[in-house]
Symmetry: D2
Subunit: 476 residues, 4 copies
């Protein structure tokens, strides 16, 4: 029986689903099929013998059999197989990469010894390079090859997104994750990213993703989105040239007069559209990372800088660039303090006032905060001063054992060189706003002439730069 | 005197060229200027004190003072300074990077020791990562930052082009060059490259560069170029999304019937244009790398593959894909043999025939080859058989001590999985063609079903795959 | 007082709203303002003196004062004034154009006489040309000039949309409308239109309009629209290069196997997406004219032809092109017949069957049809045969006194050369479908080889081309 | 024998060239072929029987047989036949259109009578419309249909270019030409044209045409063109959306300081490139109509206006917009005067001075002007004053019997509202410049605030607006 006929039979068998039915014969058929260049169907759960098949494909790819072009084509096939796997199958595949295609300790040790033994600068340099190469795992080469897939970059970003939760507590998987991150960090160098303005003329495909990815102030639907793209609004996103359908990070901006203190006014679809040319202030009211697989590869600071530049150019009247930001950790921090029975939180007069409002005098604050207190005028009045003070204090807190601001949003903006400008009362009275930050929001101010100094003060000396107003609040 | 006034004075002084005139005061002025954030003009030759200035800028950039955004802006300033330097100044700057901003041996040795001492897999992995980081030189970070320049990628490609000749014999400079190559290799991953067809509709800006970069068969002017873009011709190039005005590599293709054996027929501007739909063969008659700074980062094989795919799709009638290639090293090899007095080159009858044509019987071949022998019918007849045989032998030769084909073009195509198909007599009778390869050219055949096997044969077993015809010629 | 100062005063007065307050002084101010080149604000209702102002602007424009470029700029100003008018004001303005800027009867009569008097062919031709020019109204020149507005073409299309209802019964306004139509017919020559495929990548701005303009099968929202743009659907529209944001006409197509007989299956968002490459039939299930201002300038037939061409090219497997169309006039026709007491509609057995279902035996059919009979199995069974027969009869009816099919959709497709192929029972059981056509829909078949003959049969001999099945139904 | 077989035979016969060989049988075959829908090959000279074939195709098209879509497809076939004709054949075809498909005198006369007889406004209007329709020739409908060709607009433009010289002295052909012009004038309304800047990034295809179409100052080659596209130069063209590869008209601009007085300085490829941001003057130094078929449909004035707007926006420093224009008719006018023995041309002193330079004292001026006098210092000195005076006089001359400036370039710019600003001595000493205008050129000044008044002065009162300097020169 010649090869051609055999191939015909195998293909026929595949069509009849024979591979699936005759599990016991699978190994045999598979060997025949492989020897003929066919690609048998992989079980999505990736049991051992399918894993063996993929393993041998990985090896072929790493050995560059048939030349670079073929290797890359093989990687693409492998990538497509991976996409056909279930969550379990993918985990098995990544585990295989993590455990079997990492660095070779013996080679590293040998290369280290060669470095130590180098006698001349030239020898030393060559040895260092060899050492460096020994520290690059074979799988890193494979990961690069996946770029041959039509959506290769997105493939790797998504692979990392799946890998991150699996890698916790597993050093080998963490090493794989680190390889992937290194590769993505080189490819997503900010110099390659393109700033695009998103408008109502943008493809619905992109707008749909913006809606899905917005996590700070949920977009309620197409008309809410259209409102955020109106002539007195801007939405900018970074894109990678090889992932043109996927925003990486985006920021929403409102062009207003004076620093905005309420998110509701900004999101109100029925508010009149203002003339953006008369605006003096740009408010960055929502910044969202869109790709979980790019965690830790940050470009938020560059995005803000690019948008400030672009807006300054388009609207010379803009004088102030500030955010209207959530304070996501305030209530958690406060609840901890309350639970710990911190006596310094409230003053006597405040305790009395709250007791008058709550059924249980002692636990007045905690009790009140659980309800929809912003709808109750008396509660609002009684809570205002103490909550502002406590929030200001929270904002000046550090993460334990570090010089970093405890609030993650504060840390991001302070690192970028912004300063804490103004605390806004009743700025976000949505349920989420109440639950996270007792309805308060904060403006971080980006003053171009101070950014470098602010950054240095925070990064270098651990100083949190704030306005006098916030500092005063914290001491009330 | 306040800072503002001082800055004014300094700027005035700069306008009056004071820095240039009062060389002795330069250091002083410079210090004042720097403390005020001014950027004094750099001497293009980069003498010591200007170098000191750039050195401190490099350091600022590496320390990330003022945050990542500022660091990148500072790198861009540095890059612009570099562009203002003379050849000497650039060499000095690169030497500084090479000598002062490389890896830290102590840190490497410490990290190596930590790897050796690691007790658990988790420790080992962390130590390996630390070792790897210690092997990354600080300047590599700086080089990445140059991507902030508007033409940042081109900047680095050109820097490497300038560095390559300077690095010869200087290990430190070679290490710098290797850093640069690593960076570019990541960025120029073939997955990022875009295949573009170049036509008469392409921007003149691009066409002008194609003319400048074509080195195999010089383009004589715009009408020669237009001829090469006609309906029975194709010209494809790879581009990088961040270097949209610069072809990286390009290939010229003629759509013909049967394998072409003469470059003159292909380049004849007056030849009638054929219907490309009737063509059965695509002849790749010129492949050119356009960027010296990308030497060693090859994508020629991918270009050929992509073009074959694209043409197959557009013209289903195409059955054969082959090159019409020069044999650049033949005459050199032959001259060496002749000079060495190799007696096996010619047979007695041939010697006699050549003696009849040459004044000096003994040195007949060498003498004949120096002239315009293709214009002399008798010489052509006498030379044909011996030259074809010798050329076939040359093509089967190895580079001394290796399994690599001696001819560089042969090595390229054999590595790609092509085979030597046909030797063409009087295929290129231009002066260059006579001088390089005695007027012969060769077709390399790309047969899709054999590419992998051919590649393996050559790379794995060192076998040069040829047609029976060429093999027969070599044994004549 | 010099001109400059006076202009300043006038402008100041305008700023203070003086024109509006001192109605009695308006005429005076206006004259001053005009003499200085100012543009006084127009009252949106266009009272007499404002009309006078616009009249003089029209005259200036027609006389070409200051040259063609100025005239066009002046027309643009006039156009902007028009856009600021209320419905009443616009009517007044159009009435002015209709009454005052039409043709000059004396000039026409003179030119007619010259034609009659022409002695040589050359004289005759010159006289005809002069006559032709005399028949072009001055306002036609003005209308052309509005093309200077940034959205000039859209401006004229919208003006005609507003004019059409106003022109009924007013010969002068009809003449204006005819001028406008002639201009638009030249500009919207089908050769200028661009066929675009609308996809989920199209700008939201365009998709929003598609949703607004779809009148056959209302689009319920963005997810309904997305379903209609899925991989087994196509939506094509014609655009004009100068109205790039406005679809002119669009058609929705489903790629299916066999001729579709139910609109619900096509519009079901939860139906599985089919592989379009396996489809053998393209169903045109909705065709919508989007611009009221282009009524009577038809390109529906060209759209169908272009889409058939495009689909045939993309999907060589497609064998059948057919519509799934409403029968909008059936129920009206039937109700008229019922009201007129037509005894031939139903047979005795049918009457009995219907009487058994309805409370009032005599008026059984009319009564049943008013309710949601498709939800009642017995009613469906009793109605099926008689309704199909009556509908088939209706489809073969002519508009009184003509050879035209009575049903407008039928007339459109028959004119295009389609034939009536299949009547579909319970094909559209939406309230609208029940109310218009008793839930039936029809397939018109576009068979390329028959289109010309069908067109000739219908247009020339008034023959309605139908399948045997429909003909048989009508005779049941 | 059935239709299918017969069609096969005919097609076979066509392949064997039977139609060409058996001239006598042609008519027969042709009838068979036509009855089967085949398209027999047309003889390029269009002899009578081929003309008959095209005639019947025209008739089919005009009768709309098979519907509008088919008619347009038939027109496209006819258009392709036309493109296959020789110059003689095309002339025959156009003559046929001119003679046979014009208006119908009887119908016109009847319609005229109806207009005269109309009793009410509504009747009058309807009659006028009918009259107007009767004045539209059937061929006009056909011409519109040619728009179905892929390059339909270009087709008609080129047809008119061919028709124009043929129409001279033939009223019927002139009538055809007038039909064509009317159609093109509607389609080429300036509102549809797109202004594009041509740069070194433009497609070579377009640049090549710019070189071919430049007729004022011939472009010497690609490097001359590149110089005219440098950063201190601008080249703008109008394009029609349906003729994207064809510039309609273009203007070349130099950005300089002060009004330029020499074309050589502007065209010097070796002159340093100036910083365009420092320029205060834009010099329009060449305006070219590129399409002969659009003669009489002018948009030069709009082009200048649009370019002035665009440049003012890009370079706010520009204060002056002027041309540097040829004076094409000066030498012709002067030669006529000299030939006529006009004694007032030169003063006695001038005659003496010229006599001293020329061999023949009397005919001194005429004789001198024939040579390369600009190379002779003495001649230059002697000629300067008299030639400037005579040229100024020429510029103020009218075309006989009109108020139009005699010089055509002067007429164009004066109509646009420019004024004659400065006469430049030795401004164009190329052979062409010497032969046309004795080496002089003139600046026309476009002063925005005066354009309307200048236009009115010229068009209305026939006043040529000039600077005091030119007026003074004319009176010297």
């Amino acid at each position: 029986m010649d090869d051609g006929k055999l191939a015909g039979l195998v293909s026929q068998a595949a069509n009849y689903g024979l591979f699936d039915r005759l599990k016991t014969l699978r190994g045999l058929w598979r060997d025949i099929a492989l020897s003929l260049g066919a690609t048998p169907k992989i079980d999505p759960e990736l049991p051992a013998d399918d894993a063996a098949l993929l393993r041998s494909q990985v090896q072929d790819c790493l050995q560059g059999r048939g030349g670079e072009v073929s290797a890359r084509a093989r990687a693409a096939t492998l990538g497509r197989s991976y996409l056909g796997l279930s969550a379990v199958g993918r985990r098995n595949f990544m585990k295989m990469l993590a455990d079997e295609f990492g660095t070779d300790p013996a080679r590293i040790d040998k290369a280290s010894a060669d470095v130590a033994a180098a006698a001349t600068p030239a020898e030393r340099w060559a040895a260092e390079r060899a050492l460096r190469e020994s520290l690059e795992s074979p799988r890193q080469y494979l990961l690069t090859q996946f770029n041959a897939l039509p959506e290769g970059v997105k493939f790797l970003v998504d692979m990392r997104a799946e890998l991150l939760p699996l890698a916790k507590g597993d050093p080998a998987m963490q090493a794989l994750e680190a390889d992937l991150k290194e590769l993505l960090a080189a490819w997503f160098d900010v110099g390659f990213l393109e700033l695009q303005r998103i408008t109502w003329r943008s493809p619905a495909l992109i707008l749909e993703k913006i809606m899905a990815y917005e996590a700070v102030h949920t977009i309620q639907g197409w008309s809410d989105l259209k409102n955020r793209l109106d002539s007195d609004r801007r939405l900018y996103a970074f894109f990678h040239p090889r992932m043109p359908d996927e925003p990486l990070i985006f920021v929403e901006v409102a062009l207003v007069r004076g620093i905005a203190g309420s998110i509701h006014a900004l999101l109100d679809e029925h508010a009149p559209v203002e003339d953006p040319k008369k605006a003096d202030t740009a408010i960055f009211y929502s910044i969202n990372n869109a790709q979980k697989g790019l965690v830790g590869i940050s470009f938020g600071n560059f995005l803000i800088k690019r948008v400030v530049d672009s807006l300054s150019h388009e609207f010379p009247n803009l004088k102030t660039f500030a955010t209207l930001s959530p304070i996501p950790g305030f209530r958690n921090w406060l609840d901890e303090r309350l639970a710990a029975g911190d006596e310094t939180l409230l003053e006597q007069a405040e305790l009395r006032a709250l007791a008058a409002l709550a059924q249980d005098g002692k636990a007045g604050l905690a009790q009140l905060l659980e309800g929809r207190w912003p709808d109750d005028g008396a509660a609002v009045q009684a809570l205002r001063l103490p909550l502002q003070r406590l929030c200001a204090r929270y904002l000046l807190e550090r993460r334990s054992g570090t010089a970093r601001a405890r609030d993650p949003v504060a840390h991001f903006h302070l690192s970028n060189g912004a300063r804490m400008e103004r605390l806004n009362w009743l700025a976000d009275t949505s349920d989420k706003g109440i639950a996270q930050s007792a309805g308060m929001m904060i403006n971080y101010l980006y003053k171009l002439s101070e950014i470098e100094a602010n950054h240095e003060a925070y990064r270098g000396q651990g100083r949190i730069v704030t306005s006098a107003a916030i500092r005063a609040l914290s001491k009330d």
